[in-house]
Symmetry: C3
Subunit: 647 residues, 3 copies
């Protein structure tokens, strides 16, 4: 449990560096990320490296005992490089070249740019691979951010064709898999295939899905290129990437397979403002962020990182990039930090050490101000550092009793062919997660390929491409299994299964979905559960089965089916219905639940339980009688936290 | 009165065809449309035709006694054709080439593509022109769908210049007609004229109007090319095109002039979700569709088809293309089918036989499911088939007492120069139609050039280009004539008439519109009619006349003028005001009206009256005392229908 | 105080001209603007001028004693010119060439187009420079309208690089000023710099700001080119440009520095519909326009024109270009005219003489109708003419006691880096203006460089780039000074000042802004002033200071600071809070205020006070006891005006 910070020595007078390092240590920070956007300073002219400043920066930090994460600067190639090879730029859906002048201005499929990355990463790794300050590397920065996963460049199309040839072997197989007989979309060779952009009406969803898979693979191979260089030249250091919250355009598991540690960038207020939450929710959590944004990602990246994960960038105050950018509630930076440690983060690193007076992020807060005084975030970080010292080592983060199965390709499918608005697989996973945590539960978010043994409850909220391997693992798990609608509704080729949805999951329940409907905002279909009125919104299904439904829609159709330990929801439940279903399943699974007050969340590490209050008012911590508080107490003020040891 | 279905043998194993045909017959279907997207199967390599599968498909259908509508596949040219001649692709307003990968990826003005169409249609017509199964041909598919009428390609501009030269003779005439002296838009030759896209601010409305007229003519000549080939090679077969609902970008009358039968594709739920209806209406008719969408189009295409018309594609369950896609109410597929027959359809053909497990339309329901079982739509279609058999031949569809004059160019004018939001000529026509049908009236929607003799009431809701020929016919008709605002407000050249609006219609009423205003949503201007408070929304006019207004605005201006049998509304009436006006006019015309309950619609065929309930609750059929029911009864359940013989 | 009109002889039969001129005189008009879009008539073929019609038009107007403003036709180059040199066209953000077919289709940076302008303006000036009818020239038309200030053409980039080289001297200075070390945006030479469009995410704000400054300078130099020709060839005539309301993309002061008179085009109804006002406000002022739109611009252009200003185009009825286009309230054209004279306009010129039956503006009202009869606007203009005659010369427009400092670059900064929605510097200035005028105050809107001596209250609502020179002038003014948030928050290079905001204004108050937040719509932060609950919306700041706040936020932070005569607001006040603050400051400054009824506005000229009622209901004029009315009386009907002499 360490605190860190993102620092840009190149932004500040060299005369300030020593004092900055001293102040970091005084604040309780021990990890410093540097370098990830510094290409134009490392190589100001083609081939002419300037290592001096970076040598001195590393030495300064090292002198103060700070551990350095060194970033590869490949997210920001300098202008001379772009001018020498404009083909390296990405091309957007509308065929506009995405130009120089901000960041992430490259196409993952550019082979010439990959060569440039090899060159610069090799140079960096050779120079600093064994530097004593360097404890870890970060590859690039926020892959996929600013919608950069997909590029429609000529180079991307060229590599897409090769990727397809490798995947399908012959064109007839591709035509069959994509269903190209529909609308005469058949190809005679891989060379006839273009990117799926600027079609007259929607492109073939299978075409789009493969383009997304290809693009995801391109991110992974792009990252792997750097990892291989770093691993060879810098033994013993962790290799990390900082994933961006709510970016799902590529499969993070595939990238993380090559990493030692997963990390993510946590901006709860910006995410709350920019994502799907309704106005009421945005207003309520204006200065705290939706209470599950941080937790959802923590639990996701713990899985992605195979247990090892950091928060690489933690919001320290107002950000600059949302439509509106409120200040966090006093105490909120501390609370977010503790939420991360509660979920098992190794490091929480704030972004950034000091607010910059210029550039695109000039309005982004730091731990300190442009005039070098300490900002609110810095005060709270120091408090966290003191609390960490005071608490001493915590128990290991517990494996949860509940798993939530989440897969990136399923998100792509649900977005490529939404059928109805407002319910992607991502949003469904998030809403399921909220329902679980409002019952006081810890949750592991796991990939479909993960080991599921030992869980007592496994939720599969909306996994369109659930396959036989998963079905087998679910059946073998012994857990209560909650399957949401659309799960298993598509094969790997994005086709409806021959025996209809839920496809391979029919091994768990004998039922077939014969019809689905999506519902406009405001519409719902009533469901009665034990005489209580509930409802589904956005999605409803009709099921053919011999099972007697456990709950029915108003028109008599089954809404909730159970078969042994497997349960199927034939619609997307409103929160109260989902809570009712989950209560029944946790009871069956022997899992204790707690009805958490609105805005309060728990997370356990072994015998320690942390409670965090995201509400803007006081809330109870729900601590059990006899809880021994090591932080806070039974009443949680706004942004308050408490921790107690369980009996 | 036949039932049909759209079938794609190429999508399914050949081993299934025979059973499919058998099942169609068992369901009561007798017409099958095939082939319209099958180019890549008919000609998998350039010039190498594969007729075998199509021969066998036709023979299979024929063997079961099914009648085939064979579609020309020109809406989906295969990739090899596009690659050989990329100039055939359309170009959008933003100069993006609209690429391969879905459908309708061609420019109507591409002469090389017209040659390709000639080639493939000739080959098809020669092979199957006299096949005993083939009873009709469908040209292409849904002209104009996906905003494909207008293309801004170089080829289109070239032909536009020729079209202009032919229309105007010399450039001075064009400059005068377009008013090009305004803003120095004058041209020195036709070769200087471009398409009206990507101008700095709005383009000259006359320029846009002629571009739309040109594009409309291109659709007609493109279609004519196919018709001429088919007529020559396939004598005795009907030639049909399937128009798409609410597509008004080209003049359907011009295309239909070359056809034997007009048909349209009826998707009431998708249209309700996607078009202008307010949220309340969309929620109320979520699973039924707005009660006038089907009727409006039926009555429109009866006119377009000069009495002969089909529904070529009838929604059989949820569709895939709206923002949300609810399932129809149980019974709704049956009700829509009967509404079509009530209006005089020769054939109602469902789209599609079986839901496809792949492709862009995988989430579109069929009459049967991907697992070959029967879906809800199939059950209802079979019920309709039984009811048709039970009822026997119906009387011919009655000529209505009421005509509604509707012209495509007027729609273009109202959209090119809207002056205010939310009131195109299309929407005005639709709202007028609703008002008439809520009074229990049958309506003929007729083109401005149609014969108007014999009608008792003629509504001209918003015909911007009403001309002297129409005025003469209206005057001669002897009918009560209701003229809505904006009618006659523009000459053929899109100019304000010298004597002001309503221009040529001043022959009917001595008045001149001196000023118009458009009103934002929520704003209205009060009108008092016989002491009752009414109002207009969206549009209001000031009129100079010696006539005494029959109703006045709150500020004293005239809102409703009558002169003999001609009536003029100087604003767009709210529903209650329109109803009041129509009641007065129908009374004057000696037409009986009925105040229909919300959601109930009538349509007569000779002595038979059908009633359909679009409400989600029970409604009265409003059958007269002594009505002899042949279907249903006096109470209509949701989606219910009833039919009775008039005394 | 003259009335004028915009007239297009080229649009009408020559036979009508004489009668038109006679009717203008009869209506009381004495100034006529002509020619500004007539290039294709002046030079129908390259190099072949046709002066005949223009000679005769000028002579006709002159014969009737009308004074002519002759416009240069450079806003509408003819097609032959565009075809001969397509490089003259502007290019939009998405790299689309903005084509011929409307107006303003040129790039300010096109050197070849500047040559063409030199040629045509020289020809015009030589021919008519000493014509006795010509009293003034208008350069071009509405610079910047239709978002035409910024062009991304190759020519613009070329000149931008030259402009940068001149501004910065060497590239290191630019890199430092722009903070290009951030994200490796550093350049090695000016030739590497592109326009800031189509970047992957937002471009560097300093890059954008300099591109806007460059573009603004291009407008000024483009205009200067014409001014120099006109001044040389047409001595003694005023040179004017007609700025468009709410266009702020270039610095109007820089353009006006070369002019004799500033003028603007006043379309209160269209502006109300199209700009930021909420639905309730748009509904309330549907037919009157927001009561401060006209006044704000009048007071702005009086400053821009250094005291001399006109309304070149006054809305005379419904316009054609807003989403909806209502008719003005009866009397409103008269009221707008008087509001202009009350603020000191030399001329109010209506747009246009006659509604045109064709072209993009066919639905735009004129003073007369296409059938040559007089429209409502014409009747009201004649009334104004009679009232002017009746009143005789008015006192000079008073210098106000209150100045509002407004700078165009500050608007650009606030829009380039908004940080939060709904609060640009323009909108802040407008809301401050409203608050002042609701207190019955006259306001001078002044540039930051203006002389501030003699004002009693100076408001600096949101001047991001407030600098030391301004601070010095403010301190020296002796006035009460109200500084709004964000003022002084950026240096000239768009950087945060070293000592934090309000930067140079810290010379007035010892405080530093350590944090800002922006708030979503609906959110506010409570402020208590003397026990009364108030609030700020959209923007809130945290301040570090030894001053005791005069008002505090609910969380204890200071909301209003005073230091001597300087006052700082640490948030954007709700109207009631702003009114409370202004009341305190006006009292301190010894300025009398009046609580004006909603919709009523005053403006004084010496001892004469004019009151105008923008409400749709009767309102009191708030005339003091004993006021001697020369127009109207103490009760103002809707659109009513009154004028009285002060004691």
């Amino acid at each position: 449990m360490k605190l860190g910070v993102c620092y840009y020595p190149e932004h500040w007078p060299e005369a300030w560096w020593d004092e900055d390092a001293r102040a970091m240590v005084a604040m309780g920070l021990s990890v410093v990320r540097i370098g990830e956007f510094a290409w134009s300073r490392i190589e100001p002219e083609p081939g002419a490296f300037d290592w001096g400043w970076l040598d001195r920066a590393l030495d300064t930090l090292h002198r103060h005992g700070l551990q350095v994460v060194l970033g590869t600067p490949t997210a920001t190639p300098p202008k001379w490089l772009v001018d020498a090879d404009p083909s390296m730029l990405a091309v957007d859906y509308h065929r506009h070249v995405r130009g120089f002048g901000s960041r992430r201005h490259y196409c993952f499929s550019s082979e010439s740019y990959r060569d440039q990355c090899t060159r610069i990463v090799t140079a960096l790794a050779e120079r600093y691979g064994n530097h004593p300050a360097v404890v870890a590397w970060q590859t690039d920065n926020e892959y996929g951010c600013h919608a950069t996963t997909l590029s429609y460049s000529a180079g991307a199309v060229r590599r897409f064709r090769r990727w397809l040839a490798a995947r399908y072997g012959d064109i007839a197989a591709l035509n069959a898999a994509w269903g190209n007989v529909f609308w005469s979309q058949e190809y005679r060779s891989f060379d006839e295939i273009d990117a799926p952009n600027l079609t007259v009406t929607e492109a073939n969803p299978a075409h789009r899905l493969d383009y997304q898979r290809f693009a995801s693979d391109e991110v992974a191979s792009f990252n792997r290129l750097q990892v291989e260089i770093l691993r060879a030249a810098s033994p013993g250091r962790d290799i990390i990437h900082n994933f961006m919250g709510f970016v799902t355009d590529f499969d993070h598991n595939d990238v993380a397979a090559d990493l030692d540690v997963a990390s993510w960038d946590s901006y709860p207020l910006g995410f709350t403002e920019q994502f799907w939450f309704d106005d009421d929710c945005k207003a309520r959590y204006l200065r705290q962020g939706h209470p599950d944004i941080a937790g959802f990602h923590h639990d996701l990246y713990r899985g992605v990182g195979r247990g090892r994960w950091w928060v690489m960038e933690q919001q320290p105050g107002p950000v600059n990039w949302a439509r509106s950018n409120p200040a966090p509630l006093p105490g909120m930076v501390r609370a977010w930090s503790w939420e991360a440690f509660a979920h098992g983060a190794e490091v929480v690193s704030y972004f950034r050490w000091r607010q910059l007076p210029f550039g695109q992020e000039a309005m982004h807060a730091g731990l300190t101000l442009p005039d070098r005084s300490t900002d609110v975030g810095g005060v709270e970080a120091a408090q966290v550092a003191r609390e960490i010292a005071q608490l001493g080592p915590l128990p290991a983060a517990s494996r949860a009793e509940v798993a939530l199965v989440f897969g990136y390709p399923s998100v792509w499918m649900s977005e490529i062919q939404p059928q109805g608005r407002d319910l992607s697989a991502l949003r469904a996973a998030f809403e399921m997660y909220t329902a679980l945590r409002r019952l006081g539960l810890d949750v592991d978010i796991v990939a479909p390929g993960a080991d599921l043994a030992g869980y007592r409850l496994i939720a599969v909220p909306m996994l369109l491409d659930a396959d036989a391997a998963l079905a087998t693992k679910l059946a073998a798990s012994g857990a209560q299994i909650l399957i949401g609608p659309r799960s298993g509704s598509k094969t790997r080729d994005f086709q409806i299964p021959a025996a209809l949805a839920p496809g391979a999951l029919q091994a768990l329940l004998p039922l077939a979905v014969t019809r689905v409907e999506s519902l406009r905002r405001g519409a719902s279909v009533g469901v009665s559960i034990d005489g209580v009125a509930h409802g589904v919104t956005r999605w409803r299904e009709w099921v053919r089965t011999d099972l007697t439904p456990r709950a029915r829609f108003a028109d008599g159709g089954g809404a909730w089916f159970s078969h042994g330990k497997a349960h199927y929801l034939a619609g997307w439940p409103e929160p109260a219905m989902l809570r009712t279903v989950l209560r029944a399943l946790t009871e069956a699974a022997g899992i204790a639940t707690t009805d958490m007050a609105d805005g309060v969340r728990w997370r356990r590490r072994g015998g320690l339980c942390l409670a965090i209050n995201y509400a803007a008012e006081h809330r109870p911590a729900h601590a059990p009688a006899g809880a021994k508080f090591v932080l806070g107490g039974p009443d949680l003020p706004p942004a308050g936290i408490a921790a107690w040891r369980l009996a």
